[in-house]
């Protein structure tokens, strides 16, 4: 028996699914809303996960998922098919969430949330009686630190990319990330 057969059939299935979604993107760009629904169902979970982690609230995340896909529909003509659609959509989602966070914070010139660390990073490292999962711990971080942590450690953006997206200096982004890690490690008893 060929031990590689199951893997190869999975690969074929994955490729065919990828081609189906690429085709749906192309048709959606021509105005086919039905095709855009296919795109939505393929990407909604990942976009929801991103939004949920960035804003820490289920209801807001669901609103943001709507905003992301409506904006994606409006901006489909700007999608250049040389890059992966998922990457483009992900980037657009990050921008939508950051806009939301910025409009709440109303400070798009500087983005230091030193005040939000209360008495200092040590004060956020609460010791809890029960272990806290990562999402609950993330929700306790200040918005700016949570954003930087999510974008770097979970979504894989570089410090320079994060700086560009959020408008903060790369050095500030790095410092925020170190503090976020320490705070989370404290909350999660790592």
């Amino acid at each position: 028996m060929n031990a590689r057969a199951p893997e190869s059939s999975r690969l074929v299935q994955a490729e065919s699914e990828s081609a189906r979604i690429d085709d749906a993107v192309r048709r959606a760009r021509q105005g086919d809303v039905g095709a855009f629904e296919i795109v939505y169902r393929a990407h909604a979970a990942r976009i929801y996960a991103l939004c949920r982690r960035m804003v820490g609230d289920d209801a807001q995340a669901r609103d943001l998922v709507q905003d992301v896909f409506v904006r994606a529909w409006e901006r489909l003509t700007t999608f250049r098919e040389q890059s992966a659609f998922g990457t483009w959509l992900h980037r657009l989602a990050v921008n939508v969430v950051l806009e939301q966070l910025r409009s709440r914070k109303r400070d798009d010139a500087r983005h230091t949330d030193a005040d939000e660390w209360l008495a200092g990073p040590g004060s956020l490292a609460e010791r809890l009686d029960t272990r806290m999962d990562l999402d609950k711990a993330l929700a306790r971080l200040p918005a700016g630190a949570r954003t930087v942590f999510l974008l770097h450690d979970i979504e894989g953006y570089s410090h320079d990319e994060i700086a560009q997206m959020t408008g903060i200096a790369p050095g500030t982004a790095r410092a925020q990330l170190w503090r976020a890690r320490r705070a989370l490690m404290g909350m999660l008893d790592v």
Partner: protein
Amino acid sequence: MTDNTTHLTEDERHTAADGSLPAERRAHVEAHLAACDTCAADVARIVAFMKRTQESTAPGAAASLDELWSPIRARIEATKVVALDAPTPSTSTRSPVRLVVAGIAAALLITTIVLRIRPHEQQTSVVAEAAPDSSLLRAVADSTKAYEAEAQILLDRLEIQRATMRPEARAAIDRNLHVVDVAIAELKDAIARDPNNPALRQLLATSYRQKVELLKRANAS
């Protein structure tokens, strides 16, 4: 192993843990980690934390994301350009000429017109009256509700910001909001008298979209 009295900086520890240490610093940091239990243990903790982060799965609720598609679709449809012909699902979106699909209601439902046609005139059309499509009316109603909810959220946020706005900016926002709100009120009155008129509902959805966009601009200013 012995502890060094001078330890790694926070920056060095984190970049050693996530592999982003600059090449020129690597030898020094690795040598220190080999000789310092304290720093080595701390870096190992950070590595363990990052591994746990990577292994964590996305929050649940993927199944319930299905219900988000209807309001998304309603918002998309509310922004579409209307085509003349009543679209059928299999043909409406494939033709390169029909780059946009019919709006939610008005263009699909044209009342009967009696026309006098003379030989030297341009061609004109007589369109038979069609019954309102209830699914389209529901879709418009859904999008209106979604816009109402969104407008209220934005208004609440705007209230918080009003105190810090320049007076001219506040006045401009209020002026524009008044114009839109009057239009919305008139349309709602008209819909109350003629609830099955899809043209009115589509005009209402358009006015709401204008309001939401205006409030977003106001919140961003």
